[in-house]
């Protein structure tokens, strides 16, 4: 493995979720988090999973990551069954989950240090490359608590990209940020996605965000978690979250989402 190969884009992988079910034990009895869910994600596709809380979208993401295992069904990444986390599938969480005992550069290097076949100098070069990509090379030696929320998520993005994964899994990464910072990051993420060609699965409860980012929006409904509808978004990129056509798509999905939530609550109370 060389620096050259590290920085060239690996072919993004194809994900296949096959008939997955997952139950959790809770105080109120068993919760059916996911019920017979199947989903295919193409190479290099940007898919957004949308739904109200409790619809199992984060659980599905964790299973693709290999952090949780399904009760039934399987997840395939390029045809290989997922049963543990792997460097080919990196995750970005809602909280940045950056390590406070390391500086910014140290955080980006964390995953790289675990990747075999690179020299120390090459690892440094790769880390600096990604810090530059997210516009934070000046903050290499800052500590985590010195960064704003938006900067932390940029570092987390650089950290997730650094081992050159083929899939990027994002679990409401921008939910805790203010609107202005978020809009900036939508732009950055679209640019980086176009540049680095990853398969991205992005979980959010924000429909507009999903329409702004995704090639496809997958709508979940809760109790039990199921896929209800899928929408292909063919708007030109880069997209502006404030554009009228984007708002039109979003409101259409919003109507569907509300009706499913109503149905789910109705079923539950019967």
């Amino acid at each position: 493995m060389t620096l050259e190969s590290e920085l060239t884009n690996e072919a993004p992988s194809k994900l296949s979720v096959r008939r997955i079910s997952k139950r959790f034990a809770s105080r109120g009895g068993a919760v059916h988090a996911l019920d017979d869910v199947s989903l295919d994600v193409n190479e290099g596709e940007f898919v957004c999973l949308v739904g109200p809380s409790g619809c199992g979208k984060s659980t599905l993401l964790n299973m693709i990551a290999g952090l949780e295992l399904p009760d039934e069904g399987e997840v395939l990444s390029d045809g290989h069954r997922v049963n543990a986390p792997g460097r080919d599938r990196m995750v970005m969480f809602q909280e940045s989950a950056l390590f406070p005992w390391l500086d910014v550069l140290g955080n980006v290097l964390f995953g790289l240090r675990l990747k075999p076949g690179l020299t120390t100098a090459e690892r440094l070069d790769v880390a600096r490359f990604y810090l530059q990509l997210v516009g934070l090379e000046r903050f290499s030696h800052s500590y985590v608590h010195e960064l704003s929320g938006g900067m932390k998520q940029r570092v987390a993005l650089a950290r997730a990209l650094a081992p050159n994964p083929r899939v990027l899994l994002m679990d409401e990464p921008f939910a805790a940020l203010d609107a202005l910072t978020r809009e900036q990051l939508y732009g950055d993420l679209q640019r980086i996605w176009a540049d680095r060609r990853k398969t991205i699965v992005f979980v959010t409860h924000n429909v507009r965000e999903a329409v702004c980012l995704g090639d496809r929006v997958v709508l979940f409904s809760p109790h039990p978690g199921r896929i209800r509808e899928q929408y292909r978004i063919d708007l030109p990129r880069p997209r502006d979250i404030n554009s009228v056509s984007l708002a039109a798509h979003a409101s259409e999905i919003m109507v569907a989402l509300k009706s499913h939530v109503r149905d789910a609550n109705g079923e539950a109370s019967e």
Binding site: G66, V91, W101
Partner: protein, 255 residues
């Protein structure tokens, strides 16, 4: 510089007040000796080497036992946090023994090991060990689970996750546990040294004890002064750098 001047003025004033009390003869000079006589004692003890050798003996007992206690306590604390069965057994023992004032180990230690270095060593370890175990366990339990999840996705697992994530993440707790262990060990060692004579080496506690036996108040006060200075230096040299590190990295205010 201003801070230094102020502090210096304060201590000069303190010594001045002491001298005043001495000159006024409120109490017998046997009970309240003059600052000068304490200084003279210390000077003599430094020149004839007793102070240095006593300090070395005490510090050797303390550091060797302390390092041993930490080397034992850290992995045991990690095991306690990691395995439920260890937590239910060793964890409970550690919690119980940590509440036991570490001075209470002295009689047992003397009966087991006699008046030997081993007895002192044992007392110091018992002072350190339980605090370090409890603090490490506590620290690991307070690590946000998302750290471990993030590390796992980056290819960390097994031992690596413990040495590179759980341990550094629990550092704030571990350091305060080490500080507490140090305090317990230091106090119990002093108690043990005052309590019994260990023929293989006279420590600061013995000098303090003989000061009482000889009714030499200037020796008692002089040695107390040395013990305080050692405590202060330990805090400044041993723990302040760690606390500054934690403060800088975690962005927490120093309490």
């Amino acid at each position: 510089m201003k801070r230094f001047t102020r502090a210096f003025a304060f201590f000069a004033l303190l010594v001045g007040a002491w001298q005043l009390v001495f000159v006024a003869r409120f109490w017998s000079p046997v009970l309240v000796p003059s600052p000068a006589s304490v200084a003279r004692y210390l000077e003599g003890a430094i020149i004839d080497g007793t102070l240095l050798s006593a300090t070395m003996v005490t510090m050797k007992r303390l550091t060797v036992g302390y390092i041993f206690g930490i080397l034992l306590g850290l992995p045991l604390g990690l095991l306690t946090a990691r395995f439920k069965v260890v937590g239910d057994t060793l964890g409970l023992i550690a919690l119980g023994l940590q509440t036991l004032p570490s001075v209470c180990w002295v009689p047992l230690s003397l009966l087991w090991f006699g008046q030997t270095e081993t007895a002192m060593f044992f007392v110091v370890i018992m002072g350190t060990l339980w605090s370090v175990i409890i603090a490490t366990e506590n620290g690991v339990r307070n690590v946000p689970p998302i750290f471990a999840r993030a590390a796992r996705t980056m290819g960390s697992n097994g031992l690596h996750i413990w040495t590179h994530v759980m341990l550094p993440a629990s550092l704030p707790f571990v350091v305060s546990g080490m500080k507490q262990g140090w305090a317990f060990a230091w106090r119990s060692l002093m108690a043990a040294e005052i309590y019994v004579t260990i023929l293989s080496g006279f420590g600061l506690g013995h000098l303090l004890h003989y000061g009482r036996e000889l009714n030499a108040m200037e020796q008692v006060i002089g040695i107390m002064f040395v013990i305080i200075v050692i405590g202060l230096l330990a805090d400044k040299i041993l723990f302040s750098p760690w606390e500054r590190f934690l403060h800088r990295r975690w962005g927490t205010e120093k309490a």
